[in-house]
Symmetry: C2
Subunit: 90 residues, 2 copies
Amino acid sequence: MEALWLAVGSVAAALTTLGFVPQVIKMWRTKSVGDLSALTFAQFFAGVTLWTFYGFHLGDPVVLVSNFVMLGNLLVAIVLFARYRRRGPG
Amino acid sequence: MEALWLAVGSVAAALTTLGFVPQVIKMWRTKSVGDLSALTFAQFFAGVTLWTFYGFHLGDPVVLVSNFVMLGNLLVAIVLFARYRRRGPG
């Protein structure tokens, strides 16, 4: 039973850690970001940065690594967002 | 010092739990969702659902409540996304 819960937690962590991957792929393909919220990216970036520090403090490799991976993904998202927003209409 | 880390963890949790709030407000205002990734919403929805179960299993109120709140926010995002996508171009 404990193995099942470990699987639930692991799948949960994988899904949310890589949650912005499809969005990054879509930004890259369409080069269109007008409907995306800059504040949502900023908020996740600040939050996941603090989570990474907190994971380091806890000494918990799952919290540390999953947030660090998500932070890398968010950085790519924010760079693409800044780049394509300038090209957008208006 | 422990109070500082508790603050770091709490602010981190608040930022990511409410991370999609600005995106939901933007969707509501612009009624335009063409640049958003359906897969990112689906992935977060599945992941945060599992996190909620996992928090229940752990008996950890922070994991449980923050994921439950985020789930509500994601539900609103998915309903708005489905509603406005139909109205979009094409």
